[in-house]
């Protein structure tokens, strides 16, 4: 990949769900190791962007292209995107009865390793990998032998998403409203873990409604999404401006243009 080529390049992306056009022409470029935040009011299409990048079947791409690592991302199945290093931390993680977190994460990691031509890990090898990851982000293994997300509190579910991020080592991590429903302590815990996971080989796209997560994770670029379009992009200071002024002034600006 040429040095200047973005890791993710979204051009003129228009997306509909259930017949309603949600994204109306989104352009976005993220380079390796960059942290981008997408902010915007409810219903602006932030989560749609996150879901469509991950390949959720409920969303229909009407127009535009998405290139990941120079290749057409929209052409490939969700699992192939995941194996190529695209990770989505879900806003509403699902529960899987009867399957332990540990077994689930090992299966996922092995699917990714297999795709990279690496040997699969047995439970003992996996435990070692897991211990390293937990140590790096300063968490314990108390969630590992419980069924995936079953009976987890809201905060535990979000932490579990970040733990998967740590284990699966994606190249592009998309965080969909990871801060929603977290109290301030849980927010800090999650933000600290994300900061530990920042690396020149890992880009982040952080979708959030509020600026508070960005008090703890400083983005390189902040975009404002309103009514299906990115209406403004800027540095981290843009997030503070939004916090002070709200979204309406931008929406009005978008209407005028």
């Amino acid at each position: 990949m040429a040095k200047n080529q973005p890791l993710l390049e979204v051009t003129g992306l228009r997306v509909a769900v259930a017949g309603n056009e949600i994204l109306k022409g989104v352009d976005l470029a993220i380079r390796d190791g960059e942290v981008h935040a997408i902010m915007g009011p409810n219903g602006s299409g932030k989560s749609t962007l996150a879901q469509v990048l991950a390949g959720h079947p409920a969303y229909t791409v009407l127009a535009g292209t998405v290139k990941y690592d120079g290749k057409d991302l929209l052409e490939v199945k969700p699992e192939e995107r995941a194996r190529a290093g695209v990770f989505l931390a879900f806003q509403y993680p699902v529960e899987i009865r009867g399957i332990t977190n540990s077994y689930f994460m090992r299966s996922a990691l092995n699917a990714i390793r297999k795709n990279r031509g690496e040997p699969e890990l047995d439970p003992i090898d996996f435990l070692q990998v897991l211990e390293q990851k937990l140590k790096a982000i300063g968490w314990d293994d108390s969630m590992m032998n419980r069924p995936v997300n079953e009976g987890f509190s809201g905060g535990e579910k979000k932490r579990n998403e970040i733990l998967q991020l740590a284990v699966l080592e994606p190249r592009l991590a998309i965080l969909d409203e990871t801060d929603s429903g977290l109290d301030i302590d849980a927010l800090k815990t999650v933000a600290n873990a994300v900061n530990q996971l920042r690396s020149p080989n890992r880009a982040f796209l952080i979708v959030t409604h509020y600026q508070r997560l960005l008090d703890h994770i400083t983005p390189d670029v902040v975009h404002v999404l309103a009514d299906g379009r990115i209406v403004k992009s800027g540095g981290p200071e843009l997030a503070h401006e939004l916090e002070a002024k709200g979204y309406d002034w931008l929406r009005d600006a978008a209407m005028v243009s």
Partner: protein, 477 residues
């Protein structure tokens, strides 16, 4: 078609026909046919009399239509009641068994040749109406364990058979049990003597091959005082447009402190996408915990058959006896299942546990029907029931009919039920982590069935997991 529905339908992998010359008795049922079956098996007079008594009763009975299943009339005179590969089937040495039969079982994953036998498992292989081989008989005999085709047991262990046959499922118990009692052909007989822990897993594999026939096997297992035995049955049949009847009876007797663990992996041909063909699996299975502190545990994984009608139950007669029922029933295509259990508490401090997992996909209809009955003398009886249903797609159905009849106020009953649906979001979550759609469904379904699978013997748990994957392949895309 939504991506979930696109996943259910997958060719039945055991649908081949073995081209072998068979002796098939002409279709129809009457005294002469019963005499013929009895003669072919070389049975003593008392056995024939019992069959005829059952037949006379059957003639007065009518087919039950209370199960929550639909099918056209069955013409009992159009079925052949005996089919056997030509050649004398029961031989001293496996060398004399037709290689085609050995190959057939090998293709089904059942090794009956010495060198390929699964260690730790003795197998009785039943092909249509006869047993073609029973492995490890001599080995088991060293422990006093009798494991042989029931037709052989009727000749060689008449005392035991006569003492227990029909004591748990009487010849007139119900329409299909009466039919079975009249015409049953092969099945397994097991006797584990006092204090013996059977050193091997015992298993029977039932194969229907001939067309226009029915299979009517009968199994009788007796665990004497303080003994233990684990038994497993498997089955499959060719793909045919016609419906074939499988009406079996299984009786278990556990004496004082004895334990019987009975596992079934049922994979009869389920019929095609449109519901054409497939086996009618109308089976009566019952165990009697006759002795104190005895225990009978049923585990079933039901993935095949066009229609399933079976309620493996326990009569908890001995004080402190325990009955268990763990079930996974899958209906996809146009399969219908009405299955569950009956726990009859007679003795004091008897306990029963019911865990039922119903999975419906395609246009399958899945019914759980269970009865828990606490009789007057059952002081301190306890039951725990859990019925969970899972739906895949929106053209299938799940139904639950729990019946509870308590006649002793000291009883403690617990019942839990749930219904869930595998949704796009669940599948997508797993795919987003790198798992294929197939692996995602398999993981969700296996997690759902975990409490039942953990009851299966190790080798068979693996088989069950695999089978479930195959049955549901195509139900998610």
């Amino acid at each position: 078609m939504t991506s979930i529905e696109a996943h259910v339908q997958q060719p039945y992998k055991y649908g081949f026909v073995t081209d072998i010359e068979s002796e098939v008795v002409p279709a129809g049922l009457n005294d002469d046919v019963i005499r013929l079956i009895s003669a072919k098996k070389g049975e003593p007079e008392w056995m024939l009399d019992w069959r005829l008594k059952a037949y006379r009763n059957w003639l007065k009975m009518s087919e039950p239509h209370w199960p929550n299943v639909k099918y056209g009339p069955i013409d009992y005179q159009a079925i052949s009641y005996y089919a056997a590969p030509k050649q004398r089937p029961k031989l001293d040495s496996l060398d004399q068994v037709d290689p085609k039969l050995i190959q057939t079982f090998e293709k089904l994953g059942i090794a009956i040749e010495e060198q390929k036998r699964l260690t730790g498992v003795a197998v009785d292989a039943v092909f249509d109406s006869v047993s073609v081989a029973t492995t490890f008989q001599a080995e088991l005999a060293k422990y006093g364990v009798i494991f042989m085709p029931i037709s052989q047991a009727i000749r060689e262990h008449a005392d035991l058979v006569q003492r227990y046959l029909g004591t748990v499922v009487p010849y007139n118990d119900n329409f299909f049990a009466a039919l079975n009692s009249a015409v049953f052909t092969d099945g397994s007989f097991v006797y584990v003597p006092r204090g013996v822990r059977c050193p091997l897993e015992l298993s029977t594999y039932f194969r229907i091959n001939a067309s226009s026939t029915g299979q009517f096997e009968r199994t009788l297992i007796i665990a004497d005082e303080g003994s233990y035995v684990s038994y497993l049955e498997g089955c499959s049949a060719p793909m045919r447009d016609e419906n074939q009847l499988h009406a079996a009876v299984v009786e278990l007797v556990a004496l004082d402190r004895a334990t019987i663990k009975y596992s079934t992996i049922q994979n009869w041909y389920p019929g095609d996408e449109e519901g054409k063909g497939g086996i009618y699996n109308f089976v009566t299975k019952r165990g009697k915990c006759a002795g104190v502190n005895s225990k009978i545990s049923w585990t079933q994984v039901e993935t095949g058959s066009a229609i399933t009608w079976k309620y493996p139950g326990c009569i908890l007669q001995g004080d402190n006896s325990i009955g268990e029922f763990y079930s996974v029933a899958v209906t996809s295509r146009k399969q219908q299942a009405d299955t569950g259990t009956k726990m009859i508490h007679l003795g004091k401090n008897t306990r029963s546990t019911i865990v039922s997992k119903g999975i419906s996909a395609g246009r399958g209809q899945n019914t759980y029907r269970g009865l828990v009955k606490i009789m007057k003398g059952a002081e301190g009886a306890r039951n725990y029931s859990q019925c969970d249903s899972m739906l895949i797609g929106d053209k299938c159905g799940a139904h639950t009919f729990p019946y509870i009849d308590v006649r002793n106020s000291t009883a403690i009953m617990e019942h839990e039920a749930s219904t869930s649906k595998i949704g796009e979001d669940q599948i997508f979550y797993l795919r987003q982590r790198g798992l294929s759609a197939e692996d995602a469904v398999s993981m969700i379904v296996n997690g759902f069935c975990k409490e039942v699978f953990k009851e299966l013997p190790m080798e068979f748990a693996v088989e069950a997991t695999r089978l479930l994957g195959i049955s549901l392949e195509g139900s998610v895309g």
